[in-house]
C-alpha cells in the first residue's frame, strides 16, 4: 500500500517528460504502472483503490520519463475527492502525454472518458487493457477503425499478463518523440469546456462503437454468474462471507503462530548463546541495553513477520478476486441502518491491514457526513500492528486453543466498537449519499502479484517497526534509568513516576505502572508496544524470557484488560495525522482521539471490574 501521509505533489524534473495514466476506476492503471516501472503501486479488484498520485521514473528508448499513476475517474467533471485530485493535477501540471487506459471489455461505456480527454486537446494515447477478458467475454474490437475514428493511437494490451507491454512502451516513446521536450500542456477552463461539449459526446460515441466494436449477443461470464448465485444469495450470501473470513483468520493463525514461535525461539537462542557471550567484555549497562533492549525488542517483533506475510497474502487474494465489492453489496443494507454504506464496510476490512490507507480510501465518498463517520469507525479495525501484540499476549497467557478464541473475540469487539460508534454518532454525521458501485467480474489473483504485495507490506512493517522500536527502546530505556543513580525501572525512575502518576486513572482497569509506560508509547505506534514491553520487563528479568517475566507479574485478567485497551484506543500517530489532513478539521480529529480513549477505558473498566466481581483474579 502506498502509506503516504500527505498528498504527494508531483515533483517535476526539467528535461523529463511527464506521462499521466488516466482511466476509469479498476481498469488496471496501477497494474500497468507497476509493470512499466520498478515502483510498487497498490493493486486490487476494487474500484477506487488508488486515491492519490504516485510517480516513478522510467527510461523509454533513451528518454527519461516520469510516469504518474492517478486515481480512477468516472468523469472528468466528477466531484468526489479522488476525482478532484485528478482534475487539480491536469490543471496544474504540464503533461507531455496522457495514457488513457480503458477496460476493453467495457469499452461500450468507457470510451466516453477517451472522448473527454480528446476534447481537452491533450496529446493522448489509448491503451485497451484486459485484452484477455475482452476475448473471454466475446468483445471484438477493430483497432485500426477505432484509431482512425478517435484520431489517436490505440493498442490492445493485458497489463496483468504482460501482453503487449513492449508495443505500449514503443508507442509511448513514439508519441513523446513527436512532441519536443518541455512542451507539456496544462488544461485551462476544464469545467466549462467539458460542459459545453457534453451533448456532442453522447452523439459521437454511438457511431464509433457501431463501426469498431462487436459485442456478444449474450453475456458470457459464466464463472461470475455462477459464483454470484451463491456468494450473493439473499440468505446464504452473508453466512458464506462470514465463514470465509473466519476460515481465513483461522488458517493464518494455525500456520502463522507455530512459525512465530519457532522463529522467536531461534532469535532467543541467538541472543543468549551467541550475542551475550560476544558482548561479555562490554560494560554491563551497554551489553544489557543491546541484548535486553534492542535485540529483544526487535527480535520479539520480527518473529511476527511470517504472520504478517501470511496475513497480507490472504488479504491480497480477497482484494484481487473481486470479493470486496460483493462484501459491499451484502453489507450495505446493514450499514445503511448505521448511517454508513457498503463502502465503509469494505474500508473497515482494509483497515485490518493498516488504518492509514483505509482512511485515505474514504476519498471516494462525496458526502462529508459519510466520510467523517467512516473515518470515525475505521481506527477501530484491528490492524496488523495490533495483531502482533495480541498474538504475543495470547500465547503467553493462554493455551493455543483459548488464545485463538481470545483473538477471535477481539476481532468481534473491533466490529462491535465500530457499530456502537456509528449508532451513537450517525445523527451528527448524516448523509444522503447515493450508492452506485461497480461489481467487477471475479478475477483470478496471480501468485507474483499477491506475493509482491505481501512482500512490500512486510518490508514496510519491518522498516517502521525497526525505527519505532529503536526509538521506543531508547526512550523507555532512558525513562527507566533516569534520573541517574536510581534502580532501573524502579518507582523512583522517570518511567516509574510516569506510571504512578497515571495510576489513579489506570489502576481501576488493571494496568500497572509498567504496562502504563508501554501504553503511553503505544500512542505513537502499536509496533512499539511489544518492543517496549520487552525492554521494560526484559531489563528486570534475569533470563530475558519476556513471557515468563510478564506472566509472573500480570494476571490474565489484567492482560485481557490491556489487550482491550490496546485494541480500542488511538491506533497510532500516523492515523491521527491522516485523519487530520483528510477531515481538514482539528476539532473532529481531537474528538476521534478522545472518543477512542473514553471507549477504551470504559470497556476495560467494565471487563476488569466485572472480572473482579466474579472473583477471577
Amino acid at each position: 500500500m502506498t502509506h503516504c501521509l500527505e498528498s504527494v505533489g508531483v515533483v517535476l524534473v526539467p528535461g523529463q517528460a511527464t506521462v499521466a495514466v488516466v482511466g476509469m476506476p479498476n481498469t488496471g492503471k496501477s497494474t500497468l504502472f507497476t509493470q512499466l516501472t520498478a515502483a510498487h503501486a497498490h493493486i486490487g479488484n476494487w474500484p477506487g483503490l488508488t486515491v492519490d498520485l504516485m510517480q516513478a521514473e522510467l527510461t523509454l528508448e533513451g528518454r527519461s520519463v516520469q510516469l504518474v499513476d492517478l486515481p480512477g475517474i468516472y468523469d472528468l467533471r466528477g466531484h468526489s475527492e479522488d476525482e478532484a485530485v485528478v482534475r487539480r493535477f491536469l490543471e496544474s501540471t504540464p503533461v507531455e502525454l496522457v495514457v488513457i487506459i480503458l477496460n476493453a471489455s467495457q469499452i461500450d461505456r468507457q470510451l466516453r472518458l477517451a472522448l473527454q480527454v480528446r476534447q481537452l486537446g491533450l496529446p493522448a494515447l489509448v491503451l485497451l487493457n484486459m485484452a484477455d477478458e475482452a476475448r473471454r467475454f466475446g468483445v471484438g474490437i477493430d483497432l485500426d477503425e477505432l484509431a482512425r475514428r478517435l484520431e489517436l493511437p490505440v493498442l490492445l494490451i493485458s497489463a496483468k499478463y504482460r501482453q503487449g507491454l513492449g508495443q505500449a512502451r514503443h508507442a509511448i516513446a513514439k508519441a513523446l518523440a513527436a512532441s519536443p521536450s518541455g512542451a507539456g500542456c496544462t488544461v485551462l477552463d476544464l469545467e466549462p469546456r467539458l460542459a459545453a461539449a457534453d451533448c456532442d459526446l453522447a452523439a459521437a460515441m454511438g457511431p464509433i462503437l457501431q463501426a469498431a466494436v462487436t459485442f456478444p449477443a449474450q453475456w458470457r461470464d459464466a464463472l461470475t454468474r455462477r459464483l454470484d448465485r451463491w456468494l450473493l444469495h439473499p440468505l446464504l450470501g452473508l453466512p458464506i462471507f462470514l465463514l470465509v473470513m473466519a476460515l481465513m483468520f483461522q488458517a493464518i493463525y494455525a500456520l502463522g503462530v507455530p512459525m512465530q514461535q519457532a522463529l522467536g525461539a531461534l532469535i532467543d537462542h541467538f541472543s543468549r548463546f551467541v550475542l551475550a557471550p560476544a558482548l561479555a567484555s562490554w560494560p554491563p549497562f551497554l551489553s544489557a541495553f543491546i541484548t535486553d533492549g534492542l535485540v529483544l525488542g526487535i527480535g520479539t517483533v520480527s518473529a511476527f513477520l511470517p504472520v504478517i506475510f501470511l496475513f497480507f497474502l490472504a488479504m491480497g487474494v480477497v482484494e484481487d478476486s473481486g470479493y470486496l465489492s460483493r462484501a459491499a453489496f451484502l453489507m450495505d443494507a446493514f450499514m445503511e441502518r448505521l448511517g454508513l454504506d457498503g463502502r465503509s464496510f469494505v474500508l473497515s476490512l482494509m483497515g485490518f491491514g493498516c488504518n492509514v490507507p483505509a482512511i485515505l480510501g474514504t476519498r471516494v465518498m462525496r458526502s462529508s457526513g459519510l466520510r467523517l463517520l467512516s473515518m470515525l469507525i475505521i481506527p477501530f479495525s484491528l490492524c496488523s500492528a495490533r495483531l502482533n501484540v495480541f498474538l504475543f499476549m495470547a500465547s503467553v497467557f493462554f493455551s493455543p486453543r483459548q488464545g485463538a478464541l481470545v483473538i477471535f473475540g477481539l476481532y468481534l469487539l473491533s466490529f462491535g466498537a465500530s457499530i456502537l460508534t456509528a449508532l451513537l454518532f450517525k445523527g451528527r454525521f448524516a448523509s444522503e449519499e447515493p450508492l452506485v458501485l461497480e461489481l467487477p467480474p471475479y478475477r483470478l489473483p496471480t501468485l507474483p502479484q499477491i506475493w509482491r504485495r505481501a512482500w512490500a507490506e512486510v518490508r514496510h512493517f519491518w522498516f517502521w517497526a525497526r525505527r519505532f522500536i529503536i526509538f521506543g527502546v531508547v526512550g523507555i530505556w532512558l525513562l527507566n534509568n533516569l534520573p541517574f543513580g536510581v534502580a532501573p525501572a524502579s518507582a523512583q525512575s522517570l518511567s516509574g513516576q510516569l506510571g504512578e502518576l497515571l495510576q489513579p486513572l489506570l489502576a481501576p482497569i488493571g494496568i500497572n505502572p509498567r504496562l502504563t509506560v508501554a501504553l503511553v508509547f503505544g500512542f505513537i505506534a502499536k509496533e512499539i508496544v511489544l518492543g517496549g514491553l520487552a525492554v521494560i520487563y526484559g531489563q528486570t528479568a534475569s533470563s530475558g524470557a519476556l513471557g515468563h517475566a510478564l506472566a509472573s507479574e500480570v494476571s490474565w485478567v489484567q492482560a485481557v484488560s490491556f489487550m482491550l485497551f490496546t485494541l480500542l484506543y488511538t491506533p497510532c500517530l500516523s492515523t491521527v495525522a491522516v485523519i487530520r489532513t483528510e477531515s481538514k478539521r482539528l476539532g473532529f480529529t481531537l474528538f476521534s482521539v478522545l472518543w477512542s480513549l473514553v471507549l477504551a477505558w470504559l470497556v476495560s473498566f467494565c471487563f476488569y471490574q466485572l472480572a473482579a466481581l466474579v472473583g477471577w483474579r
Partner: protein, 69 residues
C-alpha cells in the same frame, strides 16, 4: 429500458459514466436481503444501486412479469 433519469447532476454523471442513460437496456439480476441494494447489468457492466436511488430511474419494462421498481 431506461426512459429518464430524475436525479441530481452529480449522480447523473456517475450513472451515465457507468452506462445508465436514456435508451439503454438494464437488467435486474437480484435484490439484496433486508431491502438491500439491487444488482443490475447495463451493457457489459454489472453494478449495485440502492433501491431509493433506483426508484429515480424511470424505466419502461420489456418484460411485464419482472417490473424493476
Amino acid at each position: 429500458m431506461v426512459t429518464a433519469l430524475t436525479v441530481e447532476a452529480g449522480l447523473r454523471h456517475r450513472l451515465e459514466a457507468l452506462g445508465i442513460k436514456p435508451g439503454q437496456q438494464v437488467k435486474v439480476l437480484r435484490r439484496g436481503w433486508w431491502s438491500g441494494p439491487i444488482h443490475l447489468r447495463v451493457g457489459m457492466t454489472e453494478l449495485m444501486l440502492r433501491q431509493i436511488d433506483a426508484a429515480r430511474i424511470e424505466v419502461h419494462s420489456a418484460d411485464p412479469s419482472r417490473v424493476p421498481r
